[in-house]
């Protein structure tokens, strides 16, 4: 039972930290996908938030400015994605990947222009990072978890939420009931950009203290897997993100655990790093059969005239 020793408060806090960006991104994806637009661009949207937040925080010394700027950047990028998907009826998966690729290259280019370094932005002073409370819980984490009931309320208890869901389930019927499907989808996608970017900003100015190229390391896709697993429902999204956050947190613990040895040698780092990715595949395969996506998800809507 030696391995039980890793289940400590430290692991709980690590889980919360790892789950934070996932919750932001997955809740963002929820708005977009509930309105009927696939959001494979979450990874790129997170990166836009992470990069902008790191730059603005470094320049101003104020993490709140940084967070705000990061969120706005995510909203703008999401709007571009929305135009491609909604106005031009682009293949949403393809357009989403284009956004992801853009955000691999663009931050590096700008970073060279600003700081002569493509790999990362300069280190932010420790005091300028987002503050932590209760022994290492970031302000952003508190906001992430607070977003869960808010999103739940907006989606299920407001007229906006009802219309958003209608746009994703049955846009024709929603349209004939007077709902502006196109506008709702724009709003859904832009909100997803704002939230995903907040998750990214947490990575660069909360968890870490600088932006590094592709620092999200697949979290946007894991958030999407969490969203599918949660059947596009906010509270379940939080639980799924905690699960995936746990798989990431545990990799750190295993690396330092005294029992994690093969023939007296530490387990190769590569196998530990694989854990979240392998689990994502397994969990997705195991649970996707029970999942039911919004009916009109991924199908462009063209108003009958």
């Amino acid at each position: 039972m030696e391995f039980l020793s890793i289940f400590t408060f430290a692991l709980l806090f690590a889980t919360i930290r790892s789950a934070t960006p996932l919750i932001f991104a997955a809740l963002g994806g929820l708005f977009s996908e509930r309105s009927g637009v696939i959001n494979i661009a979450l990874e790129g949207l997170m990166l836009s938030g992470a990069f902008t937040a790191a730059v603005v925080t470094y320049q101003t010394g104020n993490p709140y400015f940084g967070m705000f700027a990061g969120i706005i950047a995510g909203g703008i990028l999401a709007f571009i994605y929305a135009v491609a998907c909604i106005k031009f009826e682009a293949d949403q998966v393809v357009a989403g990947m284009a956004i992801n690729f853009l955000m691999i290259g663009l931050p590096a280019l700008i970073s060279v222009g600003l700081y002569d370094s493509a790999g990362s932005t300069p280190q932010i002073d420790k005091l300028d990072k987002l503050p932590n409370y209760f022994n290492s819980v970031s302000l952003a984490s508190i906001f992430a978890f607070a977003m869960v009931p808010i999103v739940w309320y907006v989606i299920y208890k407001t007229p906006f939420g009802l219309r958003l869901r209608a746009a994703g389930e049955n846009p024709e019927a929603a349209d004939s009931a007077g709902v502006n499907v196109i506008r709702l989808r724009y709003i859904g996608v832009v909100i997803s950009g704002l939230l995903a970017a907040a998750g990214g900003a947490y990575l660069s100015i909360g968890q870490s203290s600088l932006f590094t190229k592709s620092m999200t390391a697949g979290r946007g896709f894991i958030a999407l897997a969490a969203l599918i697993l949660a059947k596009w429902r906010p509270v379940q999204v939080m639980i799924a993100c905690l699960f995936f956050g746990f798989t990431e947190a545990i990799t750190v613990e295993i690396q330092s655990a005294p029992w994690a040895k093969i023939n007296g040698e530490p387990v190769p780092i590569q196998f530990i790093e694989m854990i979240p990715y392998v689990l994502t595949i397994i969990v997705l395969a195991g649970f996707i059969g029970l999942s039911r996506a919004p009916k009109a998800l991924g199908i462009p809507y063209r108003k009958e005239s």
């Binding site: 990947m97 284009a98 663009l106 190769p268 991924g298």
Partner: protein, 366 residues
Amino acid sequence: MKIFREILWPVLAVIAAFFVGGIIILVLGDNPLTAYGLLLSSSFGSLRDVAWMLHYATPLIFTGLAVAVAFRCGLLNIGAEGQLYVAAFATAWVGIKFGGTAVNIFGKEENWSWFSLPWYVLVPLCMLAAMVAGGIWGAIPGILKAKFGSHEVINTIMLNFIAIALVGYLTQYHYKVPGDAIQQTAHIGEAAYIPRLNEFLPFITHDVPLNLAFLLALIMCGIVYVFLWKTKWGYELRAVGENPSAAEYGGISPKKQIIIAMTISGMLAGMVAIGEVLGTRHNFESGFSADWGFLGIAVALLGRNHPLGVLIAALFFGVLLRGEIFVDAFTSKVSKDLGWVLQAIIILFVACFQIYSKGPRTRGKV
């Protein structure tokens, strides 16, 4: 007229990308015309430059074909990167284990092999290893989609991370020459080398690693064309891509076609290893790929998922890959990352232009 329309949109996408790219270069404080001039002169300045450009285009022809075949079945294979990593390691492994003694990086003769095979057995065996390993890695997301319905985009991304970690482990712990600071395997035996074209063509200098894999890539364009448009299997694969429910009504199993398409896609991506391991570097190195798997997506889309289009688009991106080194070196601020931006803009524009022309779309809800 139809051909004109097929060509018009990709050309517009390229122009748009260069326009936006030019603005970015300008904002960074460099001259876009200088940068773009460097791109052209570095690929077309001399016959040697052309040969270099073709060398850079070779892996992109394979990954472009890989993505195109999957796309014809309505699948977006973002896993070509992982597939070519696994394939490259497998190819190097066969070359090490059956290639006899090889000179290691410290200049010493070493024997890592179980026994040595003659080249006419070893080279085909290495090629087979590339295709089988890539095919298996491609088949996994295909099977996952067919059996469980989980989307290939998430699974291929996850498998990319897993592939790179897995071969990284094997290299670091089992196949590295002791004392080597670089994450690379021992060298393959000389019997596994494939000839470089400078052995036959005097105008290509010895520093250009352009090799037989380029000709193989051209042949594969032809084979993929025949497969997709002249065989029953290709017809069935495309039918699923165009309309899965109609295909199923017509007696074609979409699930089977998804697995077949992803397997073929993985095999094609894996064939990158033939040129890179057997022709160019003669071992496997972590980080050897210049994101060819991802560039394959832009190549396939720009080439309208047609083998001839893929070839042309791969040459275009070959110019970018060849030129970005020069642009990086000879401009003050523009770095290699401009390639990602141009690629992203091209993909985005091609995707947006689809509204004006027909073509396969991806299927499934993520």
